[in-house]
Structures are given as structure tokens and as C-alpha cells.
């Protein structure tokens, strides 16, 4: 049969669609839309896919059990490219097209801060693992929940280890962003301004060379250099340090020296000292995470950010169930109720948490990335912190500071 799609027929078709559409729209409206905005490429590329996968696993699990408030979770996933401009466009789409209640998984501080004005205006909850000290100050509506320790905590912990090593002088160089700047300040405060040879040197990511920056950094031959950064730029900077003959200590964050860094520079990686907030390895939630992600328990830290992804989605869904609504102000308030405070039943996964809330119990969700206790500004109160040194191509743990 030939279909004669004249303008008149097209109009009829359109009208019919309009009549029957509400049932489709009602079905969509019944879903709870959640945004996942993760750094699947760029500086956070090594971590983003783990966070994305965690969000999806929790959402799928809850959907399989009937959802929350009797509604299914619809997850919209976007790649921030670890780039604030890309992230703002993606956030725009998540908020205005998808109508999400929350945007989870932002990693770089500049991305979290970049999308914050749009989220605040639209009343959308943000859950991140970003460390800039500006995050709590920029959150005027109490809608931002940070699952990562702020960067002064990193700088402080790493500097205390450096002090025990007795270095006489330091050179400071960092990627130019919010996260590293506040870490450099905290580091300098602990080691003492008199030991810092000259003003910290900041560089941009994606430079065609880091040669002269490194020349300037090691000009006065400091005993140690501290270079908080991401893995892509740190690997290039470290290669240059090595090629320019620097033999002092190199200190950085654990973000910069994962397996890919070690593969890229080979034996030259030995001796690099680094620190990173880590999951509590003995926590039942961390054990459950390893099983969910199909990982063997090696006794070493795995997926420091994937664990936070599990906690973000679990916390949000528990809070929605607790609040009994998707009104974000009420959900934000409920996030504290399901995570923070004593005398409640501790739960380690979303399934137990939902069952307990439905049974009328008060819960405290203890997560795979930390025990998840928030301060009044929505910043996680603390995480375990691991300091390590690369020896023989492996991370040798020097110290694990418990929260």
C-alpha cells in the first residue's frame, strides 16, 4: 500500500500524535531524571569511566528493585571532557532538556564551579569529588555535596610527610587551576615559606612544551619539588625534569602517578612520592564495591573515584526516598539525614538503606569512598589519606592516615 503523505495527512498525523502523546509523556514524567557528568576524557579521563559505571550500576540495581518512591530512575550520562566549557553546555542540556534533579560525578573543581551558577539557578543538586576551597563558598543554596576532601587537606598531609624527610629547600610548580593552587598554599604553609625557593610557578595544561618552566623550577637546585597536577601534564613535566638531570625528590598527588604514568616513564618513575585521599579499605561498603565492580581485593587502593560514584548515586536515591519527594530543597535536607549523625542504623548499600527507610528507621549511609559524614556546608568531613613512594615500579605505602 502506498502511503500518500500530503501536507493534510501530515497534519492529521501530527494531531493524532498530540492526542496520544500525553500517555507517553506521563510515563516519562513518572521517571526520576538524574544527570551523570563525568570526566571521561581529558585530565580526569583515567577516573571518569569508573564513576560513570558506578552511577549506572546503582541506578540499575534500584530500578531492578522497583525504583524509589515507586518511580524508575532515568540516568542521563554526559562527558565533561574535564573541560568547564564542555561541562557547562552539557549541564545546560541536562537541566533544560532532561530536567534532572541532580548532576552527579563532576571531578575537576573548575568543572564543578563552572556549572554551579546554572545548577543553583535551576535548583539542581550537585554531587562532586572536587577539592577547591571555593566550592563551599560558591554554593549559596546548600545544594552542593562534595565527596572529596578539600585540597588544603591534601597539601597539609603531603607536606607533613615531606617535613619528616628533612628537605632543606623546595621548588613549587603546579597546573594552573583552583584545585592545585589551594594545595600549593597549604603545602607552603606547612613546610615554611623560608624553605620555598621562589614564587610558585603555574603552567597551563596542553602546552606544546614544559621545558623552560622546568629549567626555571630547578635553577636553584631545590632539595625537593612539589608539583600537584593531573596525569597528562605531570607525565610530560616529569619527563622533562628527568631529562634536565634533576636528582632531588619529586612530590605530587596520587592523581598524577597511576599505572599509566608508570608505564609511560618506566623505571624513571622510581622515587616519586605522592599522596591521595583513599577509600577505607576495611569498610564493608568498599568490599561490596569491589564485588560489584568485578575486582579482586588486592589489599591496595582501587578506584578511588569509582567508589565515590557509588556513594553519590546511593546517597541521592536514599535521600529522595527519605524526603518522599523530588523537590530538591527537601532532598538536600534529607541527604544530611541519611548520611550524617549518630545513633542511627549504619547501612553500607542502597538496598539495605531503602529497606530501612521504608521500615521507618533512621539511617546513616557509610560509603565505599568514606564514611560519608557532611559538614554544614555539604563538604565530606574527611577521608583516609594514603602517602606512598614508587619503588620498583610499584606504590609502596609509607603511611595511611585514618579519618
Amino acid at each position: 500500500m502506498a502511503i500518500n503523505l500530503t501536507r493534510r495527512n501530515a497534519l492529521k498525523l501530527g494531531a493524532a500524535t498530540a492526542v496520544f502523546a500525553p500517555s507517553i509523556l506521563r510515563a516519562q514524567g513518572a521517571e526520576i531524571n538524574v544527570g551523570s557528568l563525568t570526566p571521561n576524557t581529558g585530565g580526569g579521563g583515567p577516573f571518569g569511566p569508573n564513576i560513570t559505571a558506578s552511577h549506572k550500576r546503582v541506578a540499575d540495581l534500584v530500578n531492578g528493585q522497583g525504583g524509589v518512591l515507586g518511580r524508575q530512575i532515568r540516568l542521563y550520562q554526559e562527558n565533561s571532557e574535564t573541560n568547564p566549557e564542555t561541562a557547562v553546555r552539557a549541564a545546560d542540556k541536562l537541566i533544560n532538556v532532561n530536567g534532572v534533579v541532580g548532576i552527579l560525578g563532576t571531578w575537576s573543581s573548575s568543572v564543578t564551579l563552572g556549572i554551579m551558577p546554572k545548577c543553583q539557578t535551576a535548583g539542581v543538586i550537585q554531587m562532586c569529588t572536587s577539592s577547591s576551597s571555593d566550592i563551599p563558598m560558591a554554593d549559596e543554596k546548600g545544594l552542593v555535596f562534595n565527596f572529596q576532601a578539600l585540597s588544603p587537606v591534601w597539601g597539609d598531609a603531603i607536606a607533613k610527610l615531606a617535613v619528616t624527610r628533612g628537605y632543606g629547600s623546595y621548588g613549587l610548580m603546579a597546573l594552573n587551576n583552583d584545585f592545585t593552587k589551594s594545595m600549593v598554599d597549604a603545602f607552603a604553609a606547612v613546610v615554611g615559606a623560608d624553605k620555598v625557593i621562589k614564587e610558585p610557578l603555574y603552567y597551563n595544561a596542553a602546552q606544546a612544551s614544559y621545558r623552560s618552566e622546568v629549567t626555571s623550577l630547578i635553577e636553584d637546585e631545590p632539595d625537593a619539588v612539589f608539583i600537584p597536577s593531573y596525569v597528562t601534564d605531570f607525565t610530560a613535566v616529569y619527563k622533562e625534569l628527568y631529562r634536565q638531570g634533576y636528582e632531588g625528590a619529586v612530590i605530587t598527588t596520587g592523581l598524577s602517578v597511576g599505572p599509566k604514568f608508570k608505564e609511560a616513564v618506566g623505571d624513571a618513575a622510581d622515587g616519586v612520592i605522592h599522596g591521595l585521599p583513599v577509600p577505607p579499605l576495611e569498610s564493608p561498603a568498599y568490599g561490596e564495591y569491589l564485588k560489584e565492580a568485578g575486582l579482586e581485593d588486592t589489599g591496595n587502593v582501587q578506584h578511588p573515584f569509582g567508589t565515590a560514584g557509588r556513594d553519590q548515586m546511593s546517597t541521592l536515591l536514599l535521600a529522595i526516598e527519605k524526603a518522599g519527594t523530588t523537590d530538591t530543597a527537601a532532598v538536600a535536607k534529607a541527604i544530611w539525614q541519611v548520611t550524617t549523625g549518630e545513633g542511627k542504623r549504619t547501612v553500607y548499600n542502597v538496598t539495605d538503606g531503602l529497606a530501612a527507610i521504608r521500615a521507618g528507621e533512621e539511617i546513616n549511609y557509610s560509603g565505599a569512598s568514606s564514611s560519608i559524614e557532611f559538614d554544614a556546608e555539604g563538604m565530606v568531613l574527611g577521608r583516609d589519606f594514603q602517602l606512598a613512594e614508587i619503588r620498583g615500579g610499584e606504590d609502596v605505602v609509607l603511611e595511611r592516615l585514618k579519618f
Binding site: 596542553a206 606544546a208 623552560s212 629549567t215 597528562t232 631529562r243 616513564v265 624513571a268
Partner: protein
């Protein structure tokens, strides 16, 4: 420190000069600024990585493999993407080339993800020459870059193919009337430029880290070097590369490092405003 900065600038120039020359060769024959150079360099770096790390070939063999594959990619991109648009304005082709670079970069991302990678060769400590440090690997890059520049110059000046290329660049219609095959000369130029982009991918992989943005990060300095030297002039591109390489490294003496990335843009802007034909290019006469 100043001598070290000079050495740093020279090493930079040796990374920028060969692709700037290749860019200018392509411009001469294809008549539009091909911004896909970033994508080509990325392809070169990842092909060399594949051969060197995954197939465990020696770096020299991996480099030849990367040069061959990139030459093929540049030629194919011309046949499939740019040739059908040959009658469009250069600005249209420029925009298409930017899009094509993004496509290449994301294809690489699809197969290799965004992780940082390095060749399977150990990092080297430097040797000291009058207080300045340079590694044997950087010396190799410097010498190879110089050799490529001389070789391209010789090809253009003294070989039949080189003369044919110059004839096509000068006046394609007249060259065709005189019996030159535009198709073969375009293919040869694409292959030559592609091989140089592939080699640049290897140099950049040795110098920085192998990741999908490796080529894109070099695009502005390369473009700046070509503009400064005069688009269409290979020797100009060499001088341009030395100037841009030096300028980027010496900036740190007077400006914070965070402004370094703007040096290339500044050079492009100043030359396009004041001397669009660059230092050695011929001014274009429009009638």
C-alpha cells in the same frame, strides 16, 4: 639559565619545523590551510605506539610504519574529504579540516581511550654542554629535523617531482596544460607531508606524552611558524619555527608561564595584520 633556554628553544623549533614545512607544502598544492595537521600528528604518534609497544617493533621500524600509515591517511583524507570540495572557498575547506581533525582525534580516542602512553624506550639523563643540558634523544631529533628541512629543500629545487610541485603551487592550470598530472602530484605531496606528520607524531611522543590531544597542542605553534615564515615557503617555515620555538621558551623571562600558550596566537595576529605574506612569502596580488 639563558643558554639552557636557548637550547630549549632549539629543541622546540626542531619539533615545529618539519610539520610547518609539511603544512606549507600542502598549502602550496591544495590551496587552503589544512588544520587537520593536529589529527595527522596524533595518528602518527599512535601508529608508532602501536608498532613499538603492542607489536614490540624497534622504534626505527615503528617510526617508518607511522610515517607510511600517516602518509596514507593524509592522501585518503584528500581523496575522500577535500577533493570533492575543491571548488569551495578556502575558508570552507579550513572549517572542514578542523572538523576532520576532531574526527581523527576521536577515532584515536575510540580505539586507544584517553590514557597517557609512552614508547617502550627508557628515559635518558642529559649530557652537559657548556652548562646547558640536552639528551642524546633531543640531539637526534634536532639533527633529523635539520636533515628533513634540507631534504625537502633539495627535493623542491633539484628533482623533477619537486619542480612539478612548485609548478602546480605556482599555477595549477598552466601546470596541467603543460602535461603535469595534478592528481599524482597532489597524491605525492600528500604522501610526503603525511610522512613528515607521522615523524612529528613520533618526535612529539618522545618529547611529551602520547595522548589524543598531542597533535592539537602543537597545531597553533606550527601554524604560527608557517605564517611567520610565509605560507608556501619551506625555508621560511624553518626560520618561523626557530622564531616561534625561541619566543615560546624565552617568554618565561618576562611573563608568567600561563601566557606562553598565547605567544603563537600573538605571532599569527601580528603577522596577519602587518605582513600577511610572512617573512619569506610572496604577496598575493588580487586582480
Amino acid at each position: 639559565m639563558n643558554l639552557q633556554l636557548f637550547v630549549n628553544g632549539l629543541v622546540n623549533a626542531s619539533l615545529i619545523a618539519p610539520p610547518a614545512i609539511a603544512f606549507t607544502l600542502l598549502f602550496g598544492v591544495l590551496r587552503f590551510p589544512n588544520f587537520a595537521i593536529g589529527g595527522y600528528i596524533t595518528v602518527g604518534a599512535f601508529m608508532a605506539y602501536t608498532a613499538n609497544v603492542i607489536f614490540a617493533w624497534p622504534l626505527v621500524a615503528a617510526t617508518l610504519f607511522a610515517m607510511a600509515v600517516t602518509a596514507l591517511v593524509v592522501w585518503l583524507s584528500d581523496v575522500v574529504v577535500f577533493a570533492p570540495l575543491r571548488n569551495q572557498e578556502p575558508v570552507t575547506l579550513l572549517v572542514v579540516s578542523i572538523a576532520f581533525s576532531l574526527i581523527l582525534e576521536n577515532l584515536v580516542r575510540l580505539f586507544f581511550a584517553s590514557d597517557v602512553r609512552g614508547f617502550d624506550i627508557p628515559l635518558e639523563r642529559p649530557i652537559k654542554v657548556m652548562g646547558a643540558r640536552i639528551t642524546p634523544e633531543q640531539l637526534d631529533i634536532l639533527m633529523l629535523a635539520f636533515a628533513i628541512t634540507v631534504a625537502v629543500h633539495v627535493v623542491l629545487r633539484f628533482t623533477r617531482f619537486g619542480k612539478a610541485m612548485r609548478a602546480v603551487a605556482d599555477n595549477p592550470v598552466l601546470a596541467q596544460v603543460r602535461g603535469l598530472s595534478l592528481r599524482w602530484i597532489t597524491a605525492g605531496t600528500c604522501a610526503l607531508a603525511g610522512a613528515i606528520f607521522g615523524l612529528t607524531g613520533v618526535f612529539a611522543g618522545l618529547d611529551l606524552v602520547i595522548e589524543p590531544l598531542i597533535g592539537w597542542n602543537l597545531t597553533i605553534p606550527i601554524f604560527a611558524a608557517a605564517i611567520l615564515g610565509g605560507i608556501g615557503s619551506p625555508m621560511g617555515a624553518l626560520v618561523g619555527a626557530i622564531c616561534v620555538g625561541m619566543a615560546e621558551e624565552l617568554t618565561i623571562l618576562v611573563l608568567p608561564s600561563t601566557y606562553k600558550i598565547a605567544v603563537g596566537f600573538l605571532i599569527i595576529a601580528v603577522f596577519l595584520l602587518l605582513r600577511p605574506q610572512g617573512l619569506f612569502g610572496q604577496p598575493e596580488i588580487k586582480k
